[in-house]
Symmetry: C2
Subunit: 487 residues, 2 copies
């Protein structure tokens, strides 16, 4: 009541400045790509990079005060939300300046979709874009994916927000096994894993029937679980070798990056005893099995083809990548329904993947099992164990609330879309695919469709959904609560 909150605005602007400068540095690589292909977009990128770097530098340097003084939860929430929005806003400039996407709404949509690693596109003809622009599109995925991993695994645990399930990490019980006590080191190691995975995939794709340029772009899209392709037909354009390589790397990218680190350090015990990984793989192979059988029996394809189509699409949806080799809307009902349900599953915490995340479902399942036992014994609340450690009841609460808020947000979003006149399937499909950061949805926005036909207001709603989903709801929603602005 009345007690106005003091927010460290200078500190916020300072950090956002750094973020923009980093984005600018990344964008300079687009100038090089444009130079290689002798494209006129070189001017576009030069202009956009200049604006970006200047804005960033101004914010960064003019606020270089003692920002550690009053830097708390509020500031973190605001920075995280604004960082993704500002990156997307500046990231839309190349599309606009080059007239590749002349509408502001559409350009911002494509940019938000990129940085949130969603991969939903308003483009009808992707191949009409210049190399520089295609590269920037995929690069936005890569930046966004890197950002989310660093945020989830390295930065947030150090903010010491107790009992708060701000990001995945605390839910996964991995807090006890901190990578390394220093942010800088952790971020560096993550960076090495991230770049390492990207390079390996690029080389493997290049070794197949992909050109180097496409291999780089698709690797960006895979490791970030983004889903923008450089081809209109997405991965259906390529050989089964390429499809298997991308499937493998999608699955790898949906695993908690902490586990990659443990694997690199040959601490395999920690990897194999991780419950989330177990269930994540169980989901993938379970769904793949059922869909393979159905595709095999209905479409009279070879067993290998049925398996390849099934596992590619399952991996693409569960990790929220969104690449396509197939139009799953044409699949038999049960398989289609399974794909739709997968959109609510999500990948692992601490990965680049989106959605609700497997660990939260594990919590939910265990909670339900415990409630049956409670029902019989009628005693105190039975604690839940994750990775053999009892879970903090506050985190269990947060997880259950998260799932509830997620579903409510999905419902509300779908209702608004229907209200805007969008048909039922397209409504629910577009909302869940944007919230989950997946890419393709149902109806008009299926794997062979695109988001150009969604009404203007709907596109803004979907942008909001992408940001809200990527930043795990709370960080954005909490800013809109009155409590946030009270002491």
């Amino acid at each position: 009541m009345g007690n106005q909150v003091k927010i460290n605005i200078r500190g916020i602007i300072h950090i956002l400045g750094i973020v923009l400068v980093l984005e600018g540095v990344f964008m300079t690589s687009c100038i090089i790509v444009s130079m290689i292909y002798h494209e006129k977009d070189i001017k576009t990128f030069f202009l956009a990079t200049t604006i970006l770097l200047l804005s960033g530098l101004v914010c960064w340097k003019l606020t270089n005060t003692n920002r550690s003084k009053t830097f708390g939860i509020r500031e973190s929430f605001i920075i995280v939300s604004l960082a993704w929005f500002l990156m997307s806003l500046f990231g839309a400039f190349p599309y606009l300046f080059s007239f590749s996407i002349p509408s502001f709404t559409d350009a911002l949509f494509e940019s938000v979709s990129g940085f949130t690693t969603t991969g939903s596109s308003i483009l009808i003809d992707i191949e009409a874009l210049s190399h520089g622009m295609l590269y920037w599109r995929s690069l936005t995925h890569w930046i966004g994916g890197m950002g989310i991993v660093v945020l989830a695994v390295a930065l947030l645990p150090f903010l010491k927000i107790e009992g708060v399930l701000l990001f995945n990490n605390e839910a996964s019980g991995i807090m006890q096994e901190k990578l390394h006590p220093r942010i800088g080191n952790v971020a560096k190691r993550l960076w090495i894993i991230y770049v390492g995975l990207t390079l390996t995939e690029t080389l493997m794709l290049w070794a197949g029937d992909m050109e180097l340029f496409d291999a780089v772009c698709h690797s960006f899209g895979t490791i970030a679980t983004g889903g923008f392709s450089t081809k209109n037909k997405s991965i259906a354009e390529y050989s089964s070798y390429v499809q298997y390589v991308i499937t493998a790397f999608m699955i790898l990218s949906g695993i908690n990056f902490t586990l990659h680190y443990f694997a690199l350090k040959r601490q395999f015990k920690k990897v194999f005893h991780n419950e989330e990984l177990k269930y994540y793989l169980l989901f993938i192979f379970g769904f793949t099995l059922v869909i393979t059988i159905q595709l095999f029996s209905r479409f009279h394809t070879g067993l290998e083809e049925a398996f390849r189509r099934a596992i590619f699409q399952v991996a693409s949806i569960i990790t929220a990548t969104g690449f396509a080799t197939d139009d799953y809307l044409l699949w038999p009902n049960l398989s289609l329904l399974l794909i739709f349900l997968l959109m609510f599953v999500g990948a692992s915490a601490g990965s680049t993947g989106g959605g609700i995340k497997v660990i939260r479902h594990v919590f939910l399942f265990k909670k339900i099992r415990a409630s049956f036992r409670q029902q019989m014994h009628g005693t105190a609340i039975i604690p839940i164990k994750i990775n053999n450690n009892p879970a903090d009841p506050r985190i269990v609460h947060s997880v259950l609330s998260f799932i509830a808020i997620y579903l409510l947000t999905f419902l509300t979003g779908s209702l608004i879309m229907v209200f805007l006149g969008v048909d039922f399937h397209t409504s629910i499909g577009s909302v869940i695919t944007c919230m989950g950061g997946i890419g393709p949805g149902l109806g008009d926005v299926g794997p062979v469709g695109n988001f150009s036909g969604i009404p203007q207001t709907g596109k803004w709603l979907l942008m909001f959904m992408m940001l809200v989903g990527r930043l795990e709801l709370f960080s954005i929603f909490v800013i809109f609560t009155p409590q946030f602005w009270k002491n």
Copy 2:
């Protein structure tokens, strides 16, 4: 491990015997109806009643031992589940013996639908049935509705199952305001309210354009929130006066019967301060408002007609009655979606209505609000208040688990239906309408459709869904857990 549980089987059979005898007593009234209309079904009912009374008496009298000795939670769960199943099984005999419904599956479906007060029907031509049979059909609703109210408000709180959300009552926070310390008295008062509401509605309908017979049957269907009509066109057959009367009584029947009792005793404070009632009415009028506006603007009807159609359907779905004046499948998308969402809302705890129940949503909303506050303050779990009393955290847990299990059951059921080859809309529509005890669903089982086209296995699944939904999940599911059979 290994400790075999001793279950008081004699006690269970004893009580089930009493239940069957009671059902038999009710069924004798069908003989009278058949006599009045000089129908040949008189023999059918005579035979069915005899079998019922004999079976009941045998079970009752041959087990007349000291049953209070070891009578615990397990026995209660088993009795509740078996009671509804056995009532339905014996209740199907009249349909079978008279060849009104020659298929056993169909006859049982109609009977389960009756006793669970669902109102989903496999009949294509309802008006082809005899008066006796139509009366029995509606009477099964009335028996089922009475059973659920007595169970929820009178019997279960006395079983002293601590921390268990077996039935609605404990969730509604009404435990603290027990009606009266003695089961017999409470049951008697509920009986009076139940009969009183039924009589009042019958007279009011009869005063309109309904014949006495139809007025009685429709009152049975309304007060029990069942939904079986005696007419193929359901309530669309009747005047707007009748439609308003039925709307009012549907809304009344969806209110906790404890509140009716308080109202009768002129303790209006307790009624007006009840949070569930507030939100229940809010849901009804909120949804009605939006749908009225949409129907008014789209269909160019009068405002009164738009309002009447909207509130009738909203009341019918939220209370899980399922009467129809309209085919909501032809409504604009947003209104249809709202109707679908209402299927997940449900009526009040301690009423005859079905579904998840408003009180559980109130818990969920409050829990979500608290989790936002927790997010900001990062301290201990913030307690939730219902009716200004802090809610037991164990109950909050139970409620959240209930909602999760409800949605999971819905998803699993829908998947099985799709797997059986039923189309997507019919699948989700039939499963939710049967779980919620509503009646009409989506697709082929909409307000003007029926359940005759559902495959055989699907009908059995839906019967299971009706029982599971009516008995609030736990009581049935818990029997299938290994813990149940361990000491």
